[in-house]
Amino acid sequence: MIELVHLDKIYPSREGDVHALEDISLTINDGAIYGVIGLSGAGKSTLVRCINLLERPTAGKVLLDGEDLTSASEKRLREVRRSIGMIFQSFNLLEQRSVEANVRFPLELIHAPKEEARERVKELLELVGLSEKAAMYPSQLSGGQKQRVAIARALATRPKYLLCDEATSALDPQTTQSILELLKSINKELGVTIVVITHEMKVVESICTDVAVLDKSRVAEEGKVADVFSFPKSEIAKQLVIPNLIRSLKAGTGKKIRLVFRGETSDTPVISGLALECGVAANILYADTKNIDGRTYGHMVITLEGGEAAEKAKRYLGRCNVLYREEEDDEVICSAGL
């Protein structure tokens, strides 16, 4: 378990101190894939570097399985870092070492026996699907392959945690997806707890179990991904989760209802149900839903004509067990849960 307790990070500079992190408190449970999302400059990268103390927090504690790392010795820190793998946006492979030698690097640091190291490297390259590239050099690989090597390298010492700093930001959407799949399987099969730093909502959506939304050096919102996505409370979370939704609420007339799909209602054809069972014509202003593992997630905004029709529709939605909210304008949207 990783616990960040009232973390502060201040970079002193001549033009005045820069407050990169302000009173950050987060708990990352074992087995989670924990997303930290925010716009650039929100402090995400500083935050992740505070976990393995590549950056020393100005105040606050970092507890790793209960041990306070901020008061650990330099030697102890080096030991601890071996149980926290890290991958980066720019891969950071050793350019003068072959793929194999890159993966072996952390094993050399702990003076692992040669034979054992060789076996482990082979295993890891198999895991990331790059066995036949063992003798190649990083400059001969594509971005996705480089990140796979970096992942293999980060896992060499069998860490319990894996920190990913914008690990897919330099990759195209397809490659991003395959790297995310790999991370997911590492989480599932090896039981590695993963912290994912990103500015892309898609990344959080597709693999994270929990999420913290960072804004201006502070945690704006935190919780299970499904909850934060369905009912984002903070301004920044709304912007990130449903950027177009707010605009759509300003358009159209009549009563607006936002339907929230959280994976439970995939089988019920809600919109046709409205028309067929209640005789209410729903006008769709906005819809952003996606199917994940056969379940529907997302938001839809519809307008309903007339008071009576709206009441009928609401009763119907209630029967169908669909979460919905009546929206007046963008001010009240999502301001409360259901």
Binding site: N92, E95, Q96, F105, L109, Q140
Partner: protein, 236 residues
């Protein structure tokens, strides 16, 4: 053909060329024994380095700058008493090598420093995240990653030392510089002077080509890609 030219003969020129090469290589190698660690310390202890120690960095940097700013011809004269104390003589090849080392070491240190500074900060950070200590980072990251650049630096340093060695020839040791300046100039033996020039040009060319070839060979960043492309082109 002048009398001196005939007098020197093949053996005379060959000996001069050999002395130049051997003094240059020996002095450069010795300069690296001092300059390489010094350059690494300069880089590592700098603000934002992997083990910042600004006071030490300032002091070393100042010493290096002082030696770097003295023109070699003046430094050489100034070092005559020191040479007498340390190597027991102020003339001859031993004194000359001593002077070359003193002049070249700070130069080498700056060369090494700039090569090592080129190593990607991200890679260093990655190594730290894996629990690498200062020594491991220097030994396993900085030096291997900077290797091609270090070799290029060594070539440039060697050529610079070769230039110095010709100057040193005027007051102390032997070599082509000494032949051209102390022997050929007084009797105005133009042919001897020009042959010395030609030989030095050839030596520099050989060092340059050899060094660059070596640098390219060791660099894993692009070479293999080119090779693959070449092979692919041949196949198609």
């Amino acid at each position: 053909m002048t009398k001196l030219f005939v007098q020197l003969g093949f053996e005379g020129f060959a000996l001069g060329a050999f002395e130049t090469v051997y003094m240059t290589i020996l002095s450069t190698a010795a300069a690296y024994l001092i300059g390489l660690p010094l350059g690494i310390i300069l880089c590592v202890t700098d603000r934002g380095g992997i083990k910042p120690c600004v006071p030490l960095n300032r002091v070393l940097s100042l010493i290096v700058n002082i030696f770097r700013s003295i023109p070699f011809i003046i430094l050489m004269v100034a070092l005559i008493p020191a040479a007498r104390v340390i190597v027991g003589t102020s003339i001859g090849n031993a004194a000359m090598i001593f002077m070359l080392i003193v002049a070249a070491a700070p130069y080498v240190a700056r060369m090494v420093e700039s090569s090592v500074k080129e190593v990607d900060k991200g890679v260093i950070e990655a190594a730290r995240s894996m629990g690498a200590g200062t020594f491991s980072i220097i030994w396993k990251v900085l030096l291997p990653e900077a290797k091609p650049s270090l070799i290029v630096g060594a070539v440039i340093s060697t050529v610079t030392v070769l230039g110095y060695s010709a100057m040193a020839g005027t007051i102390a040791g032997g070599g082509l510089g000494s032949i051209a300046v102390t022997e050929a100039r007084p009797s105005n033996a133009q042919d001897v002077i020009w042959l010395c020039v030609a030989l030095i040009v050839i030596i520099v060319q050989v060092i340059q080509e050899l060094g660059m070839f070596l640098a390219k060979q060791t660099d894993k960043r692009v070479r293999k890609n080119k090779k693959i492309k070449e092979v692919k082109e041949k196949v198609s």
